[in-house]
């Protein structure tokens, strides 16, 4: 596990009515590591992520024995269109974030933001002719969101199903992009998804959540090839395979 960047010990979350939503979740992640949290709807995976970054919905009660976060976190969400301000052109959002978070001058921020457009294969004419989120495709919006998150120079990138709303061909582009950027920039990543195949492509370690608990955690190869828990096995078996093409 190395020197830990982020450590959560015994996180518990309760709803206003008192139901136990997340039970005794402990996890840690070191520099440059990737952890996938896999689970079905209602398993508490998104809530766990929101507890880490401090974005819990009102009314959720949180207890945690230890929550140590060294460095900065940034988060990307499932639906790019609802997380971008629709009345705010995307390049301007990006320049604003760079200027504010990196504390640089406006022209400097402009230059850095142009670099991000290039890195994320976004249309570079956005710098001259800015557009609103509604004028971009879903995949482009998700890439803008990734640029916004990475422009804050995070040590940990938290991803909440960022490819679920995308078409498969676009999903593949975003997965490849995240892989490359992670290699290049070295941030650690916690990737929450219901899709075991997507998690397996991006993460070295996997944690399986069910009914608010982590029921199994370990190296990807161990979890997938020798699942210790029957539910993990069920999840692996539920993936409908398709043959490879050359």
């Amino acid at each position: 596990m190395g020197s830990d960047l982020l450590t959560i010990k015994h996180l518990n979350l309760y709803s206003r009515e008192g139901s136990h939503l997340v039970k005794d979740v402990s996890l840690s992640i070191g520099h440059g590591e990737t952890l996938g949290i896999v689970g079905e709807s209602g398993s508490g995976k998104t809530l766990t992520l929101k507890a880490i970054i401090g974005l819990l919905p009102t009314g959720i009660r949180e207890t945690c024995e230890e929550k140590k976060i060294e460095g900065k976190c940034a988060m990307i969400f499932q639906s790019p269109l609802t997380s971008l301000d629709p009345l705010y052109p995307v390049f301007r959002q990006l320049v604003d974030v760079v200027e504010y978070r990196q504390g640089v001058s406006r022209p400097e921020a402009q230059k850095i933001a142009e670099g991000w457009l290039q890195k994320l294969s976004l249309p570079e004419d956005l710098a001259e002719e800015d557009r609103y989120p509604g004028e971009l495709s879903g995949g482009q919006c998700q890439r803008v969101l990734i640029a916004l998150a990475l422009a804050t120079k995070p040590d940990v990138l938290l991803c909440d199903e960022p490819t679920t709303a995308l078409d498969v061909t676009v999903q593949k582009q975003v997965i490849d992009l995240l892989k490359d950027l992670q290699k290049e920039l070295g941030f650690a990543m916690i990737f929450v998804t219901h899709n075991l195949a997507v998690a397996s492509q991006l993460c070295e370690r996997l944690a399986v959540m069910r009914h608010g608990e982590i029921i199994e955690e370990g190296r990807k190869a161990d979890v997938l090839k020798h699942p210790a828990h029957a539910y993990t096995k069920e999840l692996v078996d539920s993936v409908l395979s398709v043959p490879e093409v050359d």
């Binding site: 879903g138 078409d167 593949k172 219901h194 899709n195 075991l196 997507v198 190869a221």
Partner: protein, 249 residues
Amino acid sequence: MDHMLELRDICAYYGDKQVLFDVDLVIGKHRTLGLVGESGSGRSTLARVVTGLLKKSTGTVVFDGEVQGAKRSAEFYRRVQMVFQNPDASLNPKHRIGTILTDGMVIQGVSRADAMVRCRELITRMDLPEDTLERYPRSFSGGQKQRIALARALCTDPDFVILDEPTSALDVSVQRRMLDLIKEIREERGLTILFISHDLGVIRDICDDIAVLRHGVLQETGESAAFFASPKTDYGRELLKAVPRIEYE
């Protein structure tokens, strides 16, 4: 082979924008055809053309040997049924399941009492709780709601069912159960199915034939097994390549 559905030169428009371009497609009787494509490819539009819900279209729809006019007969709407992706949007939250299921049959002239009897059989067949008919949609899980939507489609004893992303809103383990149920029902009733999905894993699991749509243009059609062995078009290949596979190492 006998055709259940034949589409010839289908073009469709939303306002001035053309969204389907000369689509030719046939579905054999008792076959399941998977219609794949990405968002905006025109899959759901094609389903609306088949069911006569989209007025602004040209081309010929032949159902079981009969050319369909602009207005479909009541018998057509008994024989052709549809299940949508989102059960929350397709089950009226203010009606009990009993009302939702029997309404379609009552419109077709079945008495409410007979309809209730048939509903009870269907509910049992779908592994739904016994008190289902007295309850409201909100008290069911997503998987149960989708089984209710399927039960409603089967109420009129159709020959041809259009399933529009019926498992996309479901968890993977629930999806598996739903697909198995559809396969069993298909055998029992000899259904012909048009199965719309973006998920090639699902298509491979359940379909005999496949049709690939992109930007409103049909790219390729053929037997599903042949497609998965070797797609005929570059786009088919690209689509197949993009499906995420489990990486064990």
